[in-house]
Amino acid sequence: MGKPKAVVNVHDCLSCGGCVSVCPVDAIIMKNKVAFVHSEKCTSCELCVNTCPVGAISMED
């Protein structure tokens, strides 16, 4: 079992890109107008989770 990784709820994402800007390892991109996390790059720092203005990112196993 690895650490939980950031996951975007695609129904709630309003595509502002705030998570992309704060991700220290460039693990998040905008794909089909929503944020997408490359989980193999994600370091579980949770910065994006707290940055999302609508709470569309959570940490999941």
């Binding site: 309003l14 502002c16 890109g17 705030g18 800007s21 707290n50 940055t51 999302c52 203005p53 709470g55």
Partner: protein, 402 residues
Amino acid sequence: MMKYDAIIVGAGPAGSVTARFAAESGAKVLLIDRRPEIGIPVLCGEGISQRVDKWNMLEGSDWIANKMDGAKIYSPDDTMVTLSKEMAGNETGYVVYRDRFDKELARQAGKAGAELLLKTEAVDLIKKKDKIAGVKVNQFGESFEIESDVVVACDGVESKVGKWAGINTTVKPVDLETCFQYTLENVNWPEDYAEFYLGKKRAPGGYVWVFPKGNGEFNVGIGVLASLSSPGKPKALLDQFIDNHPGLKKGSPVRMLTGAVSVAKPVETVRDNVLLVGDAARHADSITGGGLTTSLEGGKIAGEVIGDAVEQQTFDKEFLESYEKRWKQVFGQKLLRNYVVKEIMLDMDDKTLNMLADSLKDYKFEEFSTLSLVKALVLKHPTLLMKLKPLMKLSEKSKENK
């Protein structure tokens, strides 16, 4: 193979103005945007300084929603400080329709000779012998390369172009405002002042803005410092603010938007064959989060420098550095000063902000002098003197520099 003097990535205000002035200086310019429509979605509070009038970059007036008489700033306990047009006009003069505003700037770029491509997303830079030589793009499922001598990053706060060129453009949460906003209709509230509401409970590390667009339409939004935020906090706090606001609570939302604004120090903005302009360059003001004026001023400089580079056929960092020198002359000092002021204000508790507002509420800004301001501040609340020391030091320092 297509070949341009300059490819500008992102047709927001910074990109369109850069494209326009580069084309006007004789460069062959391509302006690309990943969106199908310029100006949509609107990622902004839609306020801009009336200084824009002097620059003659926009024709007509259909991009103007409303003209402000000034700004009202509410402290955490709702003590109000009114700034007249003369005092506030530098930051909040017009409320605009950002979609029309952006389209007008793009129209001007096209009129000057720049080519525009929509639905065209930059996915990487072309490198030839370690030199940046253009952009790889995706367009309707097709991938292809477009060559150019200069690539300009106008791709916003989450800039990828800057990163590909080797510049660290990641923003720390302590330097990022996470924003949420509504456009509300049917609002019955005065429409002659822009309003700002401060307070750690209301908007930690940021503020709530209430910008009247006229005829009962308002742009109402919140910025929260990302390091002080939690999942969904900006939306929850703004909803709460609107529910408790006598004028706004009956408004009908017709648009909901999120955004991110950097309140950081500028990054390096020049590399061989590459320039960064606007939000990509971290050119937003750290106090207000406003980035339109610096995008316009910076874009003009970038465009002119590209024109010079094309004329000389020299595109290395050394030559392009005149862009960085010139934007620093025009607004570099102000950006740095306001970054420091932001840091000082973050340290102030709500009590201090209330005392400040109480001291300033009857102050006549028209008769402004540093001495009279200090008197007004300190006579009423002597303890403010200690709290404001860092700010006064800063103002002395900036005087020495002049």
